[in-house]
């Protein structure tokens, strides 16, 4: 025989279970782990691991370039810089203060790359220097509403690093390597390459924030 209060209990416990679980959230650490594993999927990781191993062992850069075409190599390097920025890289200077990032770049590179204004979903994550086509270049990480972006500042032209114009007359250039999208634009004497596992549109929006 059904207890007339069973319905009341069922309703009450359902509501209480919902309210109890409502306070349960995935930790930021878990969210970040999942984003990372999503980004560096099985397809990308072996390629990135290979590129990282070649870049960071003591081998002539010309030996690395002999294995693949120049254009592909530059894009692989950009993607690899982005990978390292977003992983536990001991060389990455984790810092959100643009003043401190500027000091870092001044010391390492001798100049200050343009940094985006922070706020409205834009946050700096840190920076590092990396070898790109021989010389050292600076790169910094930016958290955007669309995802994590690496800005790599090089003194090569976009075409020289294997990029092609997004559309005729456009000031933006694009390329891709594996799952990484890349968009670049020249500001002053440097080319700013935005690299990320997000849409080209979002990368264009990021670079637009650097334009004078």
């Amino acid at each position: 025989m059904t207890n007339p209060n069973d319905g009341q209990f069922e309703k009450a416990i359902a509501e209480r279970l919902r309210s109890a679980f409502n306070s349960v959230k995935a930790s930021d650490t878990l969210a970040e782990k999942i984003r990372r594993q999503n980004r560096f999927s099985k397809k990308l990781w072996p390629v990135m691991a290979t590129a990282a191993a070649v870049l960071f062992i003591i081998l002539p850069l010309s030996f690395h370039m002999a294995l693949i075409s120049t254009a592909t190599a530059t894009k692989a390097q950009l993607a690899e810089i982005h990978l390292n920025n977003h992983s536990d890289n001991a060389e990455f200077f984790t810092e959100a203060d643009p003043v401190k990032l500027a000091e870092f770049f001044k010391e390492k590179l001798g100049f200050n790359p343009i940094l985006p204004a922070i706020g409205n979903g834009i946050a700096l994550r840190g920076c590092c220097v990396a070898h790109f086509e021989g010389p050292i270049v600076g790169s910094y990480g930016v958290e955007t509403p669309a995802g994590f972006v690496s800005i790599v500042v090089v003194d090569e032209t976009p075409s020289a690093i294997g990029m092609r114009k997004m559309v005729k007359e456009s000031e933006f250039w694009k390329a891709s390597y594996s799952n990484c999208s890349m968009v670049a634009t020249t500001i002053g004497e440097y080319t700013y390459c935005a690299v990320g596992l997000i849409s080209e549109d979002a990368l264009v929006q990021m670079l637009t924030k650097l334009l004078p």
Binding site: N5, I13, A20, A26, L30, S199, E200, D201
Partner: protein, 210 residues
């Protein structure tokens, strides 16, 4: 070799081809569609994993494993269909795979080492003030009581009451008939009532009431 950007009609959410006023054509790639479609359900999947495993560390591992499986099989996901149910099905299957691998009946550890009441004989309690009574329990006690239920009842009750899925949806996720979902839910609620009644007595909130 450069990959060409493709415009792909995606339905959840829509990733479209846009033309800017200055005549620039920007093609939105769908590389991030998994993050856009599935990642918003992270908390949902984690909560279910916690209900399944009863432990935060196991729940995190299970959640991460489920999302990795989902990523690998994302090509088979039909945009516009129920992503939550799809992810929860993957979660449940991943859990079963782990159980088979470990060859155990199922985790029974309490959350945060909360002291859980021992099993007691069934006691008839009239929950005349169910709302007030249940409000006296902490979130941890409520969750712990749920996690004490047998595996099949626990997941079924969680999906039914917390996620408010239909019996049909729960049946599809758990791989059983709708009738089984109904009976499991009923048994789960009965078991939960007993456990909470024991807690209530321990807390001095109630004796046998009519």
């Amino acid at each position: 070799m450069l990959k060409s950007c493709k415009t792909t009609a995606m339905m959840e959410p829509a990733i479209t081809r846009n033309r800017l006023s200055k005549g620039k054509l920007i093609l939105s790639a769908n590389r991030n569609s998994f993050d856009q479609i599935a990642l918003p359900y992270l908390d949902t999947v984690y909560r279910a994993a916690l209900a399944i495993t009863s432990r935060k560390d196991l729940a995190e591992d299970l959640t991460q494993a489920a999302f990795l499986k989902a990523l690998k099989s994302f090509k088979r996901f039909q945009p516009g269909t129920n992503c939550k149910a799809w992810l929860l099905t993957i979660l449940r299957n991943t859990w079963y795979d782990q159980l088979r691998h470990k060859k155990i009946a199922g985790p029974t550890s309490p959350i945060d080492e909360l002291d859980i009441a021992e099993k007691t004989p069934q006691v008839q309690t009239t929950w005349t003030d169910a709302d007030d009574l249940i409000d006296n329990f902490s979130d941890e006690q409520i969750i712990a009581a749920l996690c004490e239920l047998p595996d099949d009842q626990r997941l079924t009750l969680y999906l039914t009451d917390v996620e408010q899925l239909t019996q049909k949806e729960v049946a599809e996720i758990t791989g059983v008939a709708e009738g089984t979902v109904k009976s499991r839910t009923s048994r789960a609620r009965a078991q939960l009532k007993i456990k909470l009644d024991t807690y209530a007595k321990q807390m001095g909130l109630t004796g046998d009431r009519k």
